[in-house]
Symmetry: C2
Subunit: 250 residues, 2 copies
């Protein structure tokens, strides 16, 4: 269904050098467990814009995002779509025990996945508890963020939604480069206006208008097409509606 490009230059074969070694589903594994994983893993690459999975597809593999960004979304028959998750490096795709995909997965940027055939992975999970434990932890975290996002979708105004999204991306970006978010920080916004609208339950026109409004209010500064500067982080937080917003995310 999805076309694999299958190029991998680095010595990713060695899990010890893997960039997501400490955060992915395998992060708890010991050396011997990693060896087993190395035997059954393989890599796949997708170009920006390519579909990775369609809802209803048979899933022959589960995978970790190694590099790049993908979206998880649901589309209604009449075309309305809602993004239900943003998949970043170390996030997990698929679920043991289910072989039919429930949502669409699309590569937003170029994406590399570390894949495991589903059956061997499931077998492995019953034998090495570290994988299941880590997957449980990751799933609980995702459930918490999904629930927090429900409040954004159900109760926030357009402006608050935009501010919330910007803050999430800003914090994630800071955590990736191991810095604390602060005044003057900047980051790339990897999403088109349409993708943002799908995430926020808005139209792309409303997203554009609110971005302009936040720019005019001095809450954000846009550098070129993709780069966002936050001169005053507290100001942005205030725009999200929930103040004091739960502190920094790991």
């Amino acid at each position: 269904m999805a076309s694999a490009m299958g190029s991998l230059h680095l010595d990713l074969k060695d899990c010890g050098n893997c960039p997501i070694r400490h955060r992915a589903v395998c992060s708890r594994c010991e050396a011997d467990e990693l060896e087993v994983l190395e035997d059954i893993k393989y890599y796949r690459s997708y170009e920006a814009g390519q579909p990775i999975l369609w809802s209803g597809d048979h899933m022959e593999f589960v995978a970790s995002v190694v590099t790049g960004i993908a979206t998880l979304s649901q589309t209604m028959e009449d075309g309305r779509t809602q993004m239900v998750g943003l998949l970043l490096p170390s996030d997990f795709i698929g679920r043991p025990g289910r072989d039919i995909a429930q949502f669409d997965v699309v590569a937003v940027s170029d994406v590399t996945l570390c894949c495991f055939r589903r059956r061997p992975f499931e077998d492995l999970m019953t034998r090495t508890p570290h994988i299941g434990q880590r997957l449980l932890e990751m799933t609980l975290d995702e459930l918490d963020s999904a629930r927090e996002w429900m409040t954004v979708l159900g109760r926030k105004t357009a402006r608050e939604k935009i501010a919330s999204l910007l803050l999430i991306v800003a914090r994630r970006d800071a955590s990736l480069r191991q810095k604390l978010p602060g005044d003057g920080m900047s980051f790339d916004l990897p999403l088109t206006r349409e993708a943002m609208s799908d995430y926020l339950g808005l139209t792309l026109e409303t997203v554009s208008r609110q971005m302009s409004a936040l720019k005019k209010a001095g809450i954000i500064v846009l550098e070129g097409k993709r780069r966002v500067v936050i001169p005053d982080l507290e100001g942005l937080v205030a725009e999200t509606g929930d103040d004091m917003d739960g502190g920094v995310i790991a």
Copy 2:
């Protein structure tokens, strides 16, 4: 923080007779594992309307809902609230590895919980994989439904939202009494208009108006205050916006 009533008449002490034995977090446990659980478990009861947990509370226990219904919700500083989950018998409250509650939990009807002190439960989980496996499975299911609900919140109209909620409650009710949902079925709607509005991201006035509209259109029939009759299930499904809606839920 929450007041426990601590009354339990039935011989719930015996896990073998527990009404949620086959669906709860303990459903995979063998007899010997159940014995360990029985040693550390205790029951708590809450009356309709009572809070079970506040966001920010220290959680000294995790628990399974044995009987009754509770809501999981988030409240913004200015009072806007969003329900992020409905907790039904067999659903799990709390999470291993976290000691601060993230959401408010409130008993909607009288509720009985089967509680485990968190520490012993966590220890037990590392020793008996069956519990962790089942919890993972349940959490993955909840994540899927949370994501489906995001589409309801983000993209559906008020009328579609109401229809979606009614359909969910109808299906759950049918599955509880081990019947297939069908034309002419009826069920109790355990939620006030306000609770419905919190679930759907609407105001209670809009909920009331749309309920009236569905009644006028003959999609639903109201018997008394709480009872809903569905004369034509297909008609209700059509009102949800997603037709063919994924079949029956266990």
